[in-house]
């Protein structure tokens, strides 16, 4: 049955009006009924503002109740929500807003400081926020709609918006091979098809609940929200991953049945909490996405959590997001496998001639199915080679299928750096490093790191001048970026490798690093 995302929330409000939809740190919670009702009031206001089908509403929030309420309100008028990564550098955020051109922005007052200064953000003309934003809205000439006022004055009407399940529902920015953000447009049916297929395998129900440690503006976070909205399960939001011992405490306190994270989260829980000595009793499954743990680490996790099913999934934002899945029954039978294609997804491996290759042969991983994106906001998905003539998603990852259809990856092509659970665009960091007066050119890549997953390393070529302490670059970056997005090391080279068209080639640098060749001498490969 065709479904639009907001209808999932409506169904929960019918079935479980008083059950908590979300619980925030400090035990502040909101029921499905209240979330549905409050977002209906928001939708009434948005309709009054002329915001509807085809319009975009940016969500500029860390995980919070107002962030959820604005999200659902925008969904209910048929608008597309645009997730803004709050931790990204200002030029990146501005680039996202300038490209997606949202009509309105749901703005967390915590983000107001990002509007200050010469490089302060310029936001769309309609702000959905709290009274704290009044002065800043005035300064930018924006119309401010305060949540409390909207909820107090608007009526809750259940109006079905124009449009259908094929409309774009969410825009999520990710980085393909370009290093810059690409806005991935995902429809209602992209998500619903993917959620249903994933749950045919995982068999989660309304009795399941999850501790959320990732921001909702990553696809991984949105997926947890949408999955539990489909199920009628409760989301418990963690206070943050600074303190793994505290996260273990949250798992025990909230007694969630599920937990999902990237490899970094599991490594931290194993190394910096007593999860093995004091496993959370109610936990019955964990899902690892965004990269695989090594086999020894997986075994350590299984040893620490003997009564917990370990699931692993592979995907890309462009696939809304799951492509393959492997569960506890096969995880240690097919070591290193990322699983088989989801029931409604087809995975093929293409050779260099673009034709499918046989089992065991390495080629590009290509996926097709109802979950594949509608395209990029920039309309350049074909030009970038991401969607081919047959409408298939070219993941850019290299891998092979075994005779049973299990996928094994041997190389990743995305420029997106995954470090400490964060997704980082190389360009946002390069923009900052490049503003240092001594830097002539810069490339930022992620190199494998046992703790962080990938470690940010900046390769810089300098303008002539006196000797310079590399720590100066670090201090320079810390002025503009949070710690996790600051390169952990800086390497000076005479010249960075370039492509034939003169662009700096990050892939050539990464290849040189992995092969132990000096970066200055690296030659870009054909496809770089």
């Amino acid at each position: 049955m065709p479904v639009r995302l907001f209808e999932l929330l409506r169904a929960d409000a019918e079935r479980f009006p008083d059950k908590p939809a979300a619980v925030f740190p400090g035990r502040q919670s909101i029921s499905f009924g209240a979330l549905d009702e409050r977002s209906d009031r928001i939708a009434t206001r948005l309709r009054r503002l002329g915001i509807g089908r085809g319009d975009r509403v940016a969500i500029f929030h860390d995980n919070s109740q107002p962030g959820l309420e604005w999200f659902w309100g925008a969904q209910k008028v048929g608008a597309q929500t645009v997730d803004v990564p709050t931790l990204a550098g200002r030029p990146t955020i501005q680039g996202v807003l300038d490209e997606a051109r949202p009509k309105a922005i749901a703005l967390d007052a915590k983000q107001l400081k990002q509007l200050e200064g010469d490089d302060g953000l310029r936001l769309p003309p309609v702000w959905l926020s709290s009274a704290e934003a009044a002065d800043a809205a005035k300064a930018q000439g924006a119309a401010l709609h305060v949540l409390d006022e909207v909820l107090a004055t608007e009526t809750a009407e259940r109006v079905a918006p124009a449009g259908d399940e094929h409309d774009v529902a969410l825009v999520v920015y990710t980085s393909g091979t370009t290093g810059r953000p690409n806005g991935v447009m995902l429809s209602h049916d992209n998500f619903v098809a993917n959620l249903r297929a994933a749950n045919e395998l995982m068999h989660l129900t309304a009795d399941d609940s999850i501790l959320v440690v990732v921001p909702l503006y990553y696809i991984h976070g949105r997926m947890q929200l949408l999955l539990h909205t489909m199920l009628g399960g409760t989301l418990y939001f963690s206070a943050g991953f600074q303190f793994p011992a505290k996260v273990l405490g949250e798992l025990k306190e909230y007694a969630t049945t599920g937990f999902s994270g990237v490899p970094y989260h599991f490594k931290q829980l194993l190394e910096r909490s007593k999860i093995a000595e004091q496993p959370p009793e109610s936990l019955r499954y964990v899902l690892i996405t965004g990269g695989a743990l090594s086999q020894p680490e997986l075994r350590r996790l299984a040893g620490a959590l003997p009564n917990v099913g370990i699931h692993l999934a592979y995907g890309q934002t462009e696939a809304a997001p799951r492509i393959t899945w492997i569960g506890p029954d096969e995880l240690f039978v097919k070591e290193g496998s990322l699983g088989r294609a989801l029931p409604n997804v087809t995975v093929e491996i293409l050779g260099s001639d673009g034709q499918p290759v046989g089992p065991g042969q390495v080629g590009e991983v290509v996926a097709s199915g109802p979950n594949i994106m509608k395209g990029y906001v920039g309309g350049d998905e074909a030009e970038l080679g991401k969607i081919d003539a047959q409408g298939r998603l070219r993941t850019g990852d290299l891998g092979y299928l075994d005779p049973d259809g299990h996928l094994f990856l041997v190389g990743r092509s995305s420029e997106m750096i995954k470090s400490a659970g964060e997704r980082i665009f190389p360009q946002e960091v390069e923009d900052v490093v490049g503003r240092h007066p001594r830097v002539r050119e810069v490339a930022v890549i992620g190199v494998p790191d046992p703790t962080l997953g990938e470690k940010l390393v900046a390769y810089v070529a300098l303008h002539p001048g006196p000797d310079i302490e590399l720590s100066e670059f670090r201090a320079h970056c810390l002025q503009a970026l949070p710690f996790v997005r600051v390169p952990k090391s800086f390497e000076v080279v005479d010249e960075l490798p370039k492509t034939a068209s003169g662009k700096i080639s990050r892939s050539a640098i990464r290849k040189a690093v992995l092969e132990g060749v000096p970066v200055g001498a690296a030659k870009p490969t054909e496809d770089a």
């Binding site: 206070a239 943050g240 991953f241 600074q242 303190f243 793994p244 011992a245 505290k246 931290q268 910096r272 909490s273 007593k274 470090s419 400490a420 659970g421 703790t451 962080l452 201090a475 810390l478 002025q479 503009a480 949070p482 710690f483 996790v484």
Partner: protein
């Protein structure tokens, strides 16, 4: 220099030079992320010569400079 001064200097210089208004009471949750907490742990162990226990890395002990000072004082004397 006092532990308090050492910590403020270290955090302002190495972790968050943008936090000009950082003081002993500031909630470090918005200043020090999960990877920076690890650096703080290593720095404390190196500077004050004791091992930080896993269960001690909590908001109660690491939530502010003030909390860190009392944590370090308690353990350094052991």
């Amino acid at each position: 220099m006092s532990i308090e001064q050492d910590l403020l200097t270290y955090i302002k210089k190495e972790l968050a030079p943008n936090s000009t208004d950082l003081d002993v009471e500031t909630n470090l949750a918005g200043v020090v992320d999960s990877t920076a907490v690890m650096e703080v742990v290593v720095w404390i162990e190196g500077k004050y010569g004791f091992d930080v226990e896993i269960d001690d890395i909590t908001p109660e002990n690491f939530g502010s400079v003030k909390a860190l000072v009392s944590y370090i004082e308690k353990h350094r004397k052991k």
